[in-house]
């Protein structure tokens, strides 16, 4: 390499040219093992795919806005709802939540980095290339329909549709391989978070002094270990069927399509809790700070989170009441599903009790979290309705189900993600996000959300099935579908305002300082953005709110905490 055209990173070049400086900056992001940079990479990657999958959702909504529409072909429509679901779960939900965990967990527990920094970088790049592989399907391979060969079997990919005979070409392979790759990335991150939390806490940070965010991330990572892996196993079986001529899901040779459903939902249902527990974690940090009170019922919150994780492992077949299981199995899954309502109910009451009597300050993060509590409650109630097998027989695969889980995934998780970005953006960049744009974003998104997903319950009860390309004009669904599509557009506008806010505030936002929200956890004790080593001296904590103790030396928490 005599003819060296790129700069050596870290070299003492006296006056690097503009291009060389840019290259060096990019290079530093590629080779980084810093948990904060990787956390930011995760979040940026997820926001990019949030925009992509949001655009896919809008294509779906334009297609369904009026009856007998032909905005896209049926084939493209199938690809759109498959990619929308797959992207939102695997390329948005998981990476963004692990991104927050990556950025915040070491800061919150007073560590200088994750337990395995290089594994951390490796996991991120696996996840990233998994996502790129999935999206390469749009241009790669020989597509059947002139749209590349994007997966079109639904994000649940039920057998036997995925068999070679019914899904020729490479679309299903892209789906399975991309998710196996990103699944290993997820597994690596989960291992890393567990090892970080158990082995890297600073002096005095006992498990029961950890911020609830760290506690919930520990639970989520434990759940991820046994949740993502069954999907990987099932996808390996699928690839054996497709490439080696195996018979796992080949009903002609004695295989079973129902086994795929079981394996998929053994992954799929706990996955919902893997996604929603980090949302709870975010609310657990934000609601107390903006209510100016310590979180209500800390031990109950921990117990409820662990309880949710355990119960969530026993509920998967409530996705399969219409398959024709025995009535004993149906009864078991009805009861276990209803049981999830108990720990989640405890959480909702704890958040309300935290707000009760507090001096609530409705900054944008708190607005999102307040809406989250309301929407998550409603989502939970429709969940209890659907857990009743006879009710589910009526509404299975209808838009009522779609409305229910979007209430969880958007109404709870996406709202909390937005709250988290407004809350921690100042820490990561040193600048505040614009409150004006934030309020616009919140109210438009809140209104758009309800205009979209509230009527979905009604079209579902009126009998509209999910995943249909179009419908006849005489079903009585027309105006409701138009309203839903308009709501989708309003949400789209809100997200664009958000993206604009991210860029504008980065360039021209107000200086944040170390602790703009007057918060209590350790990350706010560092400069914004924190230096690579996080803490100049290892912190020592004596209570759950170390910064409160520092700010109020006459009235510290450790006098009252057991």
């Amino acid at each position: 390499m005599a003819d060296q055209t790129y700069p050596i990173p870290g070299s003492f070049d006296a006056t690097p040219s503009r291009d060389a400086a840019l290259l060096e900056w990019l290079h530093s992001w590629v080779v980084t093992v810093d948990h904060k940079k990787l956390g930011i990479l995760y979040v940026v990657y997820a926001i990019f795919f949030l925009l992509v999958a949001g655009a896919e959702a809008l294509v779906i909504r334009i297609q369904l806005a009026i009856p007998n529409n032909h905005f896209v072909t049926p084939e493209v429509y199938n690809e759109m709802f498959t990619m929308h679901g797959t992207t939102m779960v695997f390329l948005v939900g998981m990476p963004i939540l692990f991104g927050f965990a990556n950025y915040l967990v070491p800061l919150m527990i007073g560590a200088r980095d994750m337990a395995f920094p290089r594994l951390n970088a490796f996991s991120f790049w696996l996840t990233a290339f998994g996502g790129l592989l999935l999206y390469f399907s749009f241009v790669g391979g020989f597509g059947l329909y002139g749209m590349g060969s994007a997966p079109d079997v639904g994000w649940w990919a039920y057998a036997p549709l995925t068999a070679k005979a019914f899904s020729p070409g490479h679309n299903t392979d892209y789906w399975a391989l991309a998710l196996i790759v990103s699944g290993f990335g997820t597994l690596g991150t989960a291992i890393n978070i567990i090892a970080t939390i158990l082995s890297m806490r600073c002096r005095g940070m006992t498990l029961f002094r950890m911020p609830l965010f760290a506690w919930l991330m520990l639970v989520v990572s434990g759940l991820t270990l046994i949740t993502i892996t069954p999907l990987t196993a099932a996808q390996i079986m699928l690839l054996i069927d497709r490439y080696l001529g195996g018979h796992f899901f080949d009903t002609q040779a004695g295989g079973s399509a129902v086994v795929w459903m079981h394996f998929f939902w053994i992954f799929g249902h706990p996955e919902v809790y893997v996604l929603v527990l980090p949302a709870f974690a975010i609310a657990n940090e934000i609601i107390p700070v903006f209510s100016r009170k310590a979180v209500f019922g800390y031990p109950a919150m921990v117990a409820a989170s662990v309880g949710i994780a355990f119960v969530s492992l026993t509920v998967w077949a409530h996705h399969m009441f219409t398959v024709g299981m025995t009535s004993v199995s149906n009864a078991f899954f009805v009861l276990s599903t209803m049981m999830v309502g108990i720990p989640t109910g405890i959480k909702i009451f704890n958040w309300l009790a935290t707000m009760w009597g507090g001096r609530i300050h409705f900054a944008t993060p708190m607005l999102f979290c307040t809406a989250f509590v309301l929407q998550f409650l409603l989502a939970g109630l429709t969940g209890i309705m659907l857990s009743v097998a006879p009710w589910d027989w009526q509404l299975h695969n209808s838009y009522f189900v779609i409305a229910h889980f979007h209430y969880v995934l958007v109404g709870a998780i996406v709202f909390c993600i937005f709250a988290a970005i407004y809350y921690w953006y100042p820490k990561a960049t040193g600048r505040m996000l614009s409150e004006t744009l934030g309020k616009w974003h919140f109210w438009l998104f809140f209104i758009g959300f309800h205009v979209t997903f509230d009527p979905m319950h009604f079209v579902g009860i009126l009998g509209m099935p999910r995943s249909i390309y179009t419908y006849e004009a005489d079903r009585g669904w027309n105006s409701l579908n138009m309203v839903i599509s308009i709501g989708g557009m309003i949400q789209g506008i809100a997200v664009l305002i958000f993206a604009w806010n991210l860029i504008v505030s980065y360039l021209r936002g107000k200086e944040a300082g170390n602790d703009p929200w007057d918060a209590w956890t350790l990350e706010w004790a560092t400069p914004s953005p924190p230096p690579a080593y996080n803490f100049a001296t290892d912190p020592v904590v004596r209570s759950r709110r170390p910064l409160w103790d520092l700010k109020h030396p006459n009235d510290p928490d450790w006098k009252y905490e057991r």
């Binding site: 337990a115 395995f116 594994l119 597994l187 989960a190 291992i191 890393n192 567990i194 090892a195 970080t196 158990l198 082995s199 890297m200 806490r201 002096r203 005095g204 990572s221 434990g222 270990l225 046994i226 949740t227 993502i228 892996t229 069954p230 990987t232 196993a233 099932a234 390996i236 079986m237 054996i240 069927d241 080696l244 001529g245 195996g246 018979h247 796992f248 080949d250 002609q252 040779a253 004695g254 295989g255 079973s256 086994v259 394996f263 053994i266 020592v540 904590v541 004596r542 450790w558 006098k559 009252y560 057991r562």
Partner: protein, 194 residues
């Protein structure tokens, strides 16, 4: 409790991150194996045509080799803890050897099944589940052997010392896991399923 000064916890000790990480990996791997084992058990006797599991021979010698390798690796762990690198090398080498014998035994078994019995992964449901479950385990043996051989290489170069004991024990955890899983696979495939 409030009167206890915080700096009293002079011996602030946390579990080793290597051990926690490896145990977490083992939990995740166990879930993968569980799914394959469940599939195997569910599909026992559901092949619509032959050959059936009766063609399997019970690999007793193989099993003894693999299970005793858990013992030899434990002896190696103990040796390195006390700084006896030569003893460590001997036990470690024996472990690698036992692993290789196990793989050779599997290769022999598969050759017989493929060439003489005509059972491949695509022949029937039994073939699919058998080769994927036993193959999944064999894959883990291969990965474990790569790790063990790397340490063997360092040992031969004289680079392994007492201070590496913990890392070696973390790697050994994985090998113990591979052995323990074989007990399950063996029971399911050669005893329950045959």
């Amino acid at each position: 409790m409030s009167s206890v000064p915080i700096f009293a916890d002079e011996n602030w000790r946390l579990p080793s991150r290597g051990r926690v990480g490896m145990l977490s990996l083992i939990v995740g791997e166990s879930a993968i194996f569980t799914i394959f084992v469940v599939a195997y058990i569910y599909y026992i006797g559901r092949s619509t045509y032959g050959p059936t599991p009766q063609i399997l021979d019970v690999p007793i010698f193989n099993t003894i080799c693999l299970l005793s390798s858990s013992l030899t690796i434990w002896m190696a762990e103990r040796a390195i803890e006390r700084g006896r690198t030569r003893t460590f090398g001997a036990w470690w080498g024996l472990t690698v050897l036992l692993g290789i014998v196990f793989l050779a035994g599997t290769a022999q078994e598969w050759t017989r099944l493929i060439v003489h019995e005509g059972l491949t992964i695509r022949t029937n449901l039994f073939g699919t589940t058998f080769y994927s479950l036993v193959g999944l385990h064999a894959t883990h043996v291969v990965v474990g052997l790569i790790g063990l051989s790397l340490v063997m290489l360092f040992t031969l170069m004289g680079r392994v010392e007492q201070r590496h004991a913990e890392r070696i024990q973390v790697l050994s955890l994985y090998w113990h896991f591979v052995d323990a899983v074989w007990v399950v696979v063996f029971t399911v495939v050669y005893i329950v399923g045959r």
